[in-house]
Symmetry: C2
Subunit: 339 residues, 2 copies
DNA sequence: CTACACGACGAAAAATTTTCGAAAACTGTT
DNA sequence: AACAGTTTTCGAAAATTTTTCGTCGTGTAG
């Protein structure tokens, strides 16, 4: 029985550092240089120290809430993909007015989480909480981003190709004969939104449909946001609306109907996400599907790779979305004048 | 400066036990009698020992997945209600094929979670994993249940009054002139389902609509489950279907349409939950709304109470649901014979 | 009435975390 | 370069917590 109990002490000895330092590395405490940390981590592997066995390997999935179904689905899939590896995904819904993202991150770090997934969290924001990144730098933990990576950092990200999604939407509507195509975009400073706006603009230009600044209205991703945006856009005589989320699309449809027009006869609407139940809306929503399954699978694979010490290429991998044509888009025909 | 550093040692001394015991209580380890535990807990308060400050006070919310929107909403609301108290709700989606509920519970316990919320988890099942209850008994942690309590245990629960919900549904359809009213119920052995079936039967009997066993079909809560159940029921000439979830209701509508009938003209359908977006379905779904907000608020209040040592009355509090009449129910009129 | 199995504890050992202070590494200046 | 003023990084030792191991009642079946 050579099992001489490998503890923090043995690791320290092997790494040629003090137990204090190993303890700090173990708990992801600040105050350890990159070099030393790696030294200790290598030593831990070499001596065969089992870390985190106590915490059972939990992974925090940070999302912007859960009332938008697509995030719930995404989190669930990630959890499912991680489970076979013995990892337990806990979902942390960061909401304005609720728990802040940085607080969740702190808790997860203190809890000894094995990894983090930023699912459309602050990693998608231009003005993200600097403390989040700081925490990540001071107390390194393997993490993966979805839909945008932290700038200035060597993070791994998997995203839906938003520019392409917008292009697909424009093309779809253009193919149906629409020419005044508008975008009910998400909030400014949101990376996916920015990319979609860029993709939209590029596609419009490429198709010779002009570059009317007014045709992009920024709003929140909610039903109400979509409704408001659509109201603005209808005043400009658009016949096709590209919404930044399924919720916004439904809001847009509501706004259109309130004006006595119908979807898709008078105005075509295309959503984004393809959350559950979108085939049951009235009419069934034409939308751009985020490849949730593939995204979740890749995120899980990358995280598992990171955890087993593999080097995962940093950068942002783009996943191709696809248009799911249902009933809210139809060939353009001249609008009848309002009665 | 009298801050003599109050540690586990001081607590042990004050409680008249060993530090080992205090440590065990602190980590919710098994092997401490109820009496001793309380003794230690009282001592901790008296000396002012601050526990869990490290973990920041996290609360695990265990749900059966997140792809059913209502659970996401419920979890989100609970998190929102808990946040002002400095508690961070992490959502644990337990799924068949994924992480088991008991594993989440174990992790949560090891992590030093301050409390647990069983949101329509195994607490709603007749044959729940005995290990869960065992864990809860051996390593006590404050917890609250939603939609059913653990039997044989002194748990606190807040539930939607399912029997009443079924009664409301029957009454609504009866009031519209329907007489052959069926139920597309959830899986057997599921407490909410059992209650709804009982409520349905009672209401049917009270209204003199007979007690046809065949009129209740058990299925999963999914769209497909609803579709399948509706197919069975349509063969029996029912004109009103009470579904056990919004998803099932949508599945039922699909089945009805596949038979060339329409909703609500030929058949009325009423759902359950009133998840987000149900007003956008085709037709907008008439459904029974679970009082999610009030439920979440009470759960939070109870948990905070338990955490601050208050005695919260055990038992199950029933919250009244309400019918949200939209477009899938209409007055009965004789079905036209199939073409 | 004896064994025997068990759960609950304490004492002491082992392990881990935190504290405190001293090098070492930067930084912007003469 | 040389130099103060800082900030980081880390080790030794102290403090604290966790675990191990063995004892003591208790209940129970033989």
């Amino acid at each position: 029985m050579e099992h001489e109990k490998i503890g923090i002490t043995e690791v320290a000895q092997h790494a040629g550092v003090s137990v204090a330092t190993v303890s700090r590395v173990l708990n992801r405490k600040a105050g350890v240089s990159q070099k030393t940390r790696q030294l200790v981590e290598r030593a831990m592997e070499e001596v065969g120290y089992e870390r985190g066995a106590a915490s059972g390997g939990i992974v925090g999935v940070i999302t912007p809430g859960l009332s938008i179904p697509i995030f719930g689905v995404m989190a669930e899939r990630i959890g499912l993909a991680l489970a076979p590896h013995g990892l337990r995904a806990v979902v942390c819904p960061a909401l304005p007015g609720g728990v802040q993202e940085r607080d969740f991150l702190k808790s997860l770090l203190d809890l000894g989480a094995s990894g983090i997934v930023f699912c459309s969290a602050s990693n998608t924001l231009e003005n993200f909480d600097p403390e989040v990144l700081q925490l990540l730098e001071h107390r390194p933990v393997p993490y993966v981003c979805i839909n945008g990576r932290f700038e200035d950092s060597s993070s791994v990200a998997f995203s839906t190709d938003d520019a392409y999604a917008a292009e697909l939407s424009v093309r779809h509507l253009h193919g149906l004969g629409h020419r005044r195509i508008a975008m009910a975009a998400g909030p400014v400073g949101n990376r996916p939104t920015d990319r979609r706006v860029a993709g939209y603009r590029a596609a419009m230009t490429a198709l010779g449909l002009g570059e009317d600044e007014q045709l992009v209205v920024h709003q929140t991703y909610s039903v109400e946001g979509g409704q408001f945006a659509a109201e603005q856009l209808l005043a400009q005589g658009v016949t096709g609306v590209i919404a930044a989320s399924d919720q916004m699309a439904l809001g847009a449809i509501r706004a259109i109907r309130r004006q006595g027009l119908s979807v898709p006869e008078d105005i075509s609407v295309i959503g984004y996400d393809d959350g559950p139940l979108m085939e049951f809306t009235d009419p069934p929503l034409t939308t751009v599907r985020q490849p949730v399954d593939r995204l979740a699978a890749e995120v899980a694979r990358a995280l598992v790779g990171l955890l087993s010490g593999h080097q995962v290429p940093v950068g942002e991998l783009m996943f191709q979305p696809e248009v799911v044509v249902r009933g809210t888009t139809a060939p353009y025909h001249p609008r009848r004048p309002p009665a």
